[in-house]
Symmetry: C2
Subunit: 329 residues, 2 copies
């Protein structure tokens, strides 16, 4: 079977979520040095509300619930950005939300979810554990479970980024997209290839969490025995059959990057564009800088900066210390 959605589903999602999400900017061109292809453009989705693409899928999901359904509340599990997006969208729409996070989630992430009034339960070592617990709770209480990537409404929401890119750069001929559970790349690829079949689509995964590449090679979803990467938002142990199938159908190539490359590329984005992003947001830059992804034959390639929620707490500490020492001296 195909999981492809009609183009109209992406267009409808775009209209539905328009009042709630931002049309994010394309970074002005002109890298400081010539080390990157000069035709490369960056789509700064880290400027999206709550700092990642996730609210697109979440708003598209919640806005299709009836008022009665919304009033009863929703449940989700997240390694980070999806949970913050559910918490924010639920706050915005007046929906009670229960967010399961792994016990290992940073204080920063837990705080961001709680800041929007969501209830947090911390359980398990990683997203998969939290997902199992949250799904069970939702089933027992007959509440909708908002899956971060394996749902039609989520896919349609993330795919709006494909349509937006076509408006931003009608001449786009290549796009580079990071892969976690695959909802973003599957939705974008489905919307893009239906609109413009010649667009080349390159996916990027962490070496330590290559669940999509494994699944594509195996022809079925494969569960990794272990994931090991600092890109916590790209690290589910397994993708979904839905996202695997769409990726197999539409994505031209998958490349892998390691943690050191992502940290290096976080610094590159900071030096060249003053954008502080999380490791997953820099994965596409790492793929280019290590020449694992090549765009030299493309006229109008775009790298999607999918998320920005880096842990900035050490910066505030440093400035607060500096102010204290200045004013108490």
């Amino acid at each position: 079977m195909t999981y492809s959605l009609p183009l109209a589903a992406y267009q409808a999602a775009r209209e539905r979520i328009r009042p709630y999400v931002r049309r994010t900017p394309i970074a002005p061109a002109l890298s400081l040095t010539d080390e990157m292809p000069s035709q490369l453009r960056l789509k700064l989705e880290n400027l999206q509300v709550v700092g990642s693409f996730k609210p697109r899928g979440v708003f598209n999901t919640l806005l299709q619930r009836t008022p009665e359904e919304r009033a009863r509340g929703v449940v989700t599990a997240s390694g980070g950005n999806h949970g913050v997006a559910v918490a924010y969208a639920a706050w915005r729409l007046g929906v009670p939300a229960l967010v399961y996070l792994p016990a290992t989630a940073s204080d920063d992430r837990v705080g961001r979810v709680r800041a929007w009034g969501a209830q947090v339960v911390q359980q398990g070592h990683n997203w998969d554990d939290a997902h199992t617990a949250a799904s069970a709770y939702a089933a027992a209480h007959q509440l909708p479970y908002i899956h971060p990537f394996d749902a039609e409404e989520t896919l349609a929401g993330q795919g709006t980024l494909g349509l937006e890119l076509l408006d931003d750069c009608p001449e786009i001929d290549c796009v580079i997209i990071a892969i976690g559970g695959g909802g973003l790349i599957a939705g974008m690829a489905d919307a893009l290839k239906q609109s413009k079949p010649d667009v080349r689509i390159v996916g990027v995964e962490p070496v330590g969490a290559a669940s999509m590449q494994m699944a594509i090679n195996a022809g079925r979803v494969v569960e990794l025995p272990v994931v090991r990467t600092i890109a916590d938002t790209l690290a589910p142990r397994a993708v979904a059959e839905r996202t695997r199938a769409l990726t197999a159908q539409y994505v031209d190539e998958i490349v892998l990057v390691d943690d050191a490359d992502m940290i290096d590329s976080m610094q590159w984005l900071w030096l060249h564009y003053n954008q502080l992003v999380e490791p997953s947001g820099a994965a596409v830059i790492a793929a280019l800088r290590t020449a694992k992804a090549s765009v030299s034959s493309c006229q109008q390639p775009v790298a999607l900066i999918c998320g920005g929620n880096a842990d900035a707490a050490p910066v505030w500490s440093r400035y607060s210390e500096r102010a204290a020492s200045l004013h108490n001296s």
Copy 2:
């Protein structure tokens, strides 16, 4: 006398520097909460090359030197962003550059200047000390001294931001701009008020370095006995007569913000737009959040985020530690 430049000087500067600087984006609207006026827009000049507005003035200056003059090199003194801009523009144009920085400049700033091949001399406790030493060196060696704010070419370059804002938001009726030596606000105000006299212009200074407010009140340049603020790029002890006179002529109001307000607003910009900026870049947000500047009567106000070069080193350290612990465990 008036220091006002003909509008044509700003237009010529804009054409001159166009191949070397970015047209920076306006942040998409939609704050996460309703605490800010919903009509407020942010001009993200932190996305400019080398992370601040400074290259506009520097390129406008260097591009008007003859090849012979350029070959001999230039000298400047800077608390930070101007020095990086001179180093970068000099590298780009093949000009030798000597940059004086105060001995107190952070390793990060010194590194950024050196990264572009400029020679660094560290001297004195603050910008004014470095400026005195650099000016003496330039005079002794008959080299051009590139002043960070007190020069016609610098003013014309910074004023290009005013013309760009008019293109971005033709309906603009208010702009909020941070003040250090006053080159940015003077150039922008001169270009804006000649183009659209009704635009309201609000300046923002740190409480601990209110050299422009003092000068405006006194009707002449006043040297502060001491400056004390974490906004090191807004902290010269005195403005220039040129920038004072233009500010007196064109700027409607000056408000003051303290260091705690700026740190709080750095966090606000991070939470709402995932933009990490330096304290001076957040000063305009601090003025709004503390209600010292009001835009409630404006239809299309814009806050200029003038610089982004925060000290992000603690972030890289944290991620590198995390990766090391993950991969060595």
